[in-house]
């Protein structure tokens, strides 16, 4: 199906409200709509704010995780729509794969397109992949696949099995300790627009069964890339599995190990419980 081109990024707060109000009675197949935006200019002050929150260097090449915050509102529009078979509240981001096909800068206007695919059966529910493709000057430069789990939901008959694991090698050495403050979710929400209540405070998080607010997986993933600044290939695949939620505030440890021309990475709590496991591989 052809892309549906939007003039501006949708308002995420309104989308959450709509999705929450229309959460019940959803089902059926994935919609074939492909929300898109063309000629999106990178707002440099926004990029700078994002870089600061994620501890990324402010450079002219876009951080590999940044296009996600441009594409995410379109993916939200897709998921909030009544035609989307899974209820948005309670969806958990379990895996994220980003491919940088070529390094690209903040100067070129970007074309974004998103879609949903692979409604799949998971042992505790169903998963769906929200995909995004970003082009600059007509050539695809970046793509991503975000896998969300809906606990208790059921994939249709004949659906494939979910693929949410990212195998990583042994990572015996913690290389950095991060003290993640209580407001990390609110700070990232301000730059990403992802105002999912589970990230914003203890009370809203409790309503969804978390004892405290949890960090955005995409923030953790971005901060890992920040720690690898200067040590990344030009074109690469960054694949992460979000395991345990990172409760805020927390002290966590980053483990890295060179592997396959890139890196294996993990973010763990002080007792070794894994929040994130991932790989960076040249492509």
């Amino acid at each position: 199906m052809a892309a549906t081109v939007l003039d501006a990024a949708p308002d995420l707060g309104a989308l959450y409200a709509r999705a929450a109000l229309t959460a019940w009675g959803r089902g059926g197949d994935l919609p074939a709509t492909r929300p898109a935006r063309t000629g999106v200019a990178v707002d440099r002050p926004h990029l700078a704010a994002y870089a600061r929150v994620c501890r990324l260097p402010l450079a002219d090449v876009l951080p590999a995780t940044y296009p996600h915050v441009l594409a995410f509102p379109l993916q939200m529009a897709l998921m909030a729509d009544r035609a989307f078979p899974l209820a948005l509240p309670g969806l958990v981001h379990v895996r994220n794969t980003v491919e940088v096909l070529a390094p690209f800068g903040a100067d070129a206007p970007l074309d974004l397109e998103v879609w949903a695919e692979r409604l799949a059966a998971h042992r505790s529910g169903a998963t769906v992949d929200l995909c995004a493709s970003v082009s600059a000057g007509g050539a695809e430069v970046w793509r991503s696949r975000s896998t969300y789990l809906a606990r208790g939901a059921r994939a249709p008959e004949g659906a494939p099995a979910s693929d949410v694991e990212v195998p990583v090698g042994d990572l015996p050495r913690a290389v950095a300790t991060w003290r993640v403050p209580a407001d990390a979710g609110r700070r990232y929400a301000r730059v990403s627009g992802d105002v999912n209540p589970i990230h914003l405070g203890r009370l809203p998080a409790r309503a969804f069964g978390f004892p405290r607010a949890i960090a955005h997986g995409t923030w953790t993933a971005a901060r890992v890339l920040g720690a690898l600044a200067g040590r990344l290939p030009d074109a690469f695949v960054y694949d992460v599995a979000f395991r345990r939620p990172l409760l805020l505030p927390s002290t966590v440890r980053l483990a890295t190990s060179p592997a396959g021309g890139g890196w294996d990475v993990a973010v763990r709590d002080v007792r070794g419980g894994e929040h994130l496991a991932g790989t960076v591989r040249p492509r």
Binding site: L58, A106, G230
Partner: protein, 429 residues
């Protein structure tokens, strides 16, 4: 080589980001962001990805306390090998040139084969400090063991002490801004408004021409949307500059220094790659020039009656004498334009028999220079002056200019600095 025979360090090239005006294009960038981007640009230009160089030496004048290891942290975030050692230096506006001299000296002594010298400064992302009263109260609070001690510490905090201390471009011992100091010097040397504005126009035109002929193509890498120095006004004229009101020394009705003929506060970074001739040959990199010699000097601008920015006038004759040269033995002169009147006062001092005899102890004045050889590719009035980044800008640009002119050409660099200091150096192709 044996460690007892010094050799001349080679300048292979440089990289800088365009200089931005304060609180503009780089307002969100930290010193570390800019220095890292500049190093990465140099790495890309010279194929140094994952390579180790002998040492990286750089610094910033306005520096956050957390940036104590600014250069090493920038190296770690860059594409250089993480096994590259680095350290910070700070000599006010002389930082970049002093860093170059330090790297060159280690190369000369055979202690390293290659190195990068640089500097960075931001006047936008400047460090704010809490006032001294608040700082002492907070330290007392932190050390307090009893509730009574805590309350006593808290009681010392007054609303007025919550105002942060903003770094000022002023001399701590005199309380005068650098421009106010320079206004005194300009008056003493009778430097006129028109000659300052003429020098300013030449700086803008020369830098604009350098951009036009592509001279800066392999010296500058765009950053955050900026491709040229933001302060550059190619179409400025003496008539336009004449309309500006004086901003320094305005207690004198004949004040001459304006925002046009003074450098603006700016943000930016620069880096220079130096090496031994052997290292350059091994890596297939042409040598642009060699650093022949360098000299620093300082003057007593507080009680001694000398101008704050006059130290280079003292450093140059020492350097000339040691190298058996006269002031006229140069093909190019790079005199840092802190203010147009700084350059003019320095040149006038070298022509003045009384100054040369009484202050410099010379039998004869150094004499005039051929002005057509001065700052031929523009200088700080046009490019801007992110304090520590200026030395690297000048070294890379002069080395390239000397290389273009052919072998055996000589250039003199003179940089004045806060605290009454000066750093000068000779490059030769």
């Amino acid at each position: 080589m044996s460690p007892t025979q010094p050799r001349r360090a080679a300048v292979l090239g440089g990289n800088r980001i365009p200089f931005a005006r304060s609180n503009s294009a780089y307002a969100q960038a930290s010193n570390q962001d800019m220095l890292t981007a500049t190093l990465d640009g140099l790495v890309a230009r010279f194929g140094l990805q994952g390579r180790q160089v002998g040492e990286v030496v750089a610094g910033a004048v306005l520096k956050h306390a957390r940036d104590f290891n600014l250069t090493r942290e920038s190296v770690l975030g860059s594409r250089l090998s993480a096994a590259t050692p680095a350290y910070d230096v700070q000599q006010a506006c002389g930082t970049g040139l002093e860093a170059t001299v330090l790297v060159a000296n280690k190369i000369a002594l055979g202690q390293i084969e290659s190195g990068i010298a640089g500097g960075v400064d931001t006047t936008s992302d400047a460090p704010l400090a809490v006032g001294d009263d608040l700082r002492r109260a907070l330290i007392a609070l932190n050390n307090a063991k009893t509730l009574g001690q805590r309350l006593k510490a808290l009681g010392r905090i007054r609303p007025g002490s919550l105002v942060p201390e903003i770094p000022r471009n002023a001399e701590p011992r005199t309380g005068l801004a650098m421009g106010e100091h320079q206004a005194i010097t300009a008056r003493e040397w009778g430097i006129g408004r028109e000659e300052q504005d003429e020098l300013t126009v030449r700086s803008h035109r020369n830098l604009a021409a350098a951009y036009e002929r592509g001279f800066l193509d392999d010296l500058v890498t765009p950053y955050l949307g900026l491709t040229r120095d933001q302060n550059l006004r190619p179409d400025t004229t003496v008539e336009k500059l004449a309309r500006l009101k004086p901003v320094f020394g305005t207690d004198d009705p004949a004040a001459t220094m304006t925002a046009g003929n003074s450098t603006p506060l700016s943000d930016g970074a620069s880096a220079v790659l130096l090496s031994s001739d052997e290292w350059a040959a091994e890596h297939g990199l042409p040598v642009l020039a060699h650093l022949v010699d360098a000299q620093t000097a300082a003057v007593d601008y507080v009680h001694g009656g000398e101008g704050l920015l006059m130290a280079p006038a003292y450093a140059v004759p020492v350097l000339l004498a040691r190298n058996g040269l006269t002031l006229q033995d140069f093909d190019f002169y790079e005199i840092h334009e802190a203010f147009a009147s700084t350059v003019l006062a320095t040149l006038k001092a070298w022509e003045d028999p009384a100054f040369c005899k009484e202050r410099l102890g010379l039998d004869a004045p150094l004499g005039p220079i051929d002005r057509s050889k001065l700052n031929v590719n523009g200088s700080s009035l046009a490019a801007g002056h992110p304090f520590a980044a200026t030395g690297g800008r000048i070294v890379a640009s002069l080395a390239k200019q000397l290389h273009e002119a052919g072998p055996g050409r000589r250039g003199l660099i003179s940089v004045c600095a806060a605290g009454g200091q000066g750093v000068v150096a000779i490059l030769e192709s």
